[in-house]
């Protein structure tokens, strides 16, 4: 028997006391288009997330293309982005998508992201605690300052920055809060 695209045995995932997926055994041969159908809460997304390595199973086992699903940060990031993009979103919200990645994986991830932006009408808002990590892929940077200080009027010190890094540096040094 050839290696299956996806194979699970007694696979289960529990959140607290609720089982999102239970005792799931299936074998999907390679080279087919397979639909997962079922009502909300049936476990479709949980199964896909388990296959993508985004979730760890509570019970049973899952094998993707003959291997345990990817567990390292770079592969997980790549896979979750691929899954998100498959839905052809108009807006992608990414929270610190590259912070756990090494420089090479970061570049590959952002390259994949930018190849999606090129020629497609998709908007992306992504966060990063390091400007350098995402600066060159962004049209604009919004900098949030002092949100924890309890001064809502100061919490949105934002400004537009061009993708030109020297302009960004200029803006950073000449930065002034408009409202205080």
């Amino acid at each position: 028997m050839s290696v299956a695209a996806l194979e699970t045995v007694g696979l289960g995932k529990r959140y607290l006391r609720r089982w999102a997926l239970e005792d799931c055994t299936l074998r999907i041969p390679r080279g087919h288009v397979v639909g997962l159908v079922g009502p909300n809460g049936a476990g479709k997304s949980t199964l896909l997330n388990l296959a993508a390595g985004l979730l760890a199973p509570t019970a049973g086992s899952i094998v993707v293309l003959g291997e345990e699903p990817a567990r390292d940060a770079a592969q997980r990031a790549q896979l979750s982005l691929t899954i998100a993009l498959a839905k052809r979103p108009e807006l992608l919200l990414l929270d610190e998508p590259v912070s756990s990645l090494d420089p090479l994986a970061r570049r590959e991830f952002l390259g994949l992201l930018m190849s999606t932006v090129a020629g497609n009408d998709v908007s992306i808002v992504l966060s990063s605690h390091l400007v350098n990590d995402i600066e060159r892929v962004c049209d604009y940077l919004i900098v949030l300052v002092d949100s924890a200080s309890g001064w809502p009027e100061r919490s949105t010190s934002c400004w537009r920055a061009t993708i030109d890094s020297s302009a960004l540096a200029r803006r950073t040094t000449s930065r002034r809060r408009t409202r205080r």
Binding site: R106, R107, E108, F109, L110, G111, L112, L113, M114, S115, V117, A118, G119, N132, R136, V137, C138, D139, I163, D164, S165, S166, A167
Partner: protein, 129 residues
């Protein structure tokens, strides 16, 4: 096809780095009339920059008359270099490389060599005829 790279530490805006690389490749004969530049998507996938940065660089090169975009096909080099210039490129480069060897053998470091080249470039000695 030209392969772009970015030097994050140079302080030069990314779009300008791309412009410089195309200009340089053209001057050195690595890009010739009719050659295609990589598509925006290819560039951003490879070096992970914003697509608008690449578009800006390509527009700048178009404005200079170095390249032209053909809708739906791609961006192509439209300027031409004289065959004479291209033919003498090899020998001139060879001379320069030999000169570099001599300078290094004489104990000049990279900074000194660059300073020397710039000085000579700005104030060339009169050519004896």
């Amino acid at each position: 096809m030209i392969e772009f790279y970015l030097d994050a530490k140079s302080g030069i805006p990314p779009y300008l780095q791309l412009v410089h690389q195309v200009r340089r490749a053209f001057k050195l004969g690595a890009l010739r009339e009719g050659d295609q530049l990589p598509t925006v998507r290819e560039v951003v996938t490879r070096i992970a920059i914003n697509p608008n940065t690449v578009s800006k660089a390509y527009r700048e090169l178009e404005h200079e008359g170095l390249v032209a975009a053909r809708a739906g096909v791609g961006t192509f080099v439209t300027a031409s270099t004289s065959e004479d210039v291209l033919a003498s490129l090899g020998p001139i480069r060879h001379d320069l490389e030999q000169w570099l060897v001599r300078a290094r053998t004489a104990g000049f470091d990279d900074d000194s060599i660059e300073a020397l080249f710039r000085a000579a470039f700005r104030n060339p000695a009169p050519v004896a005829s």
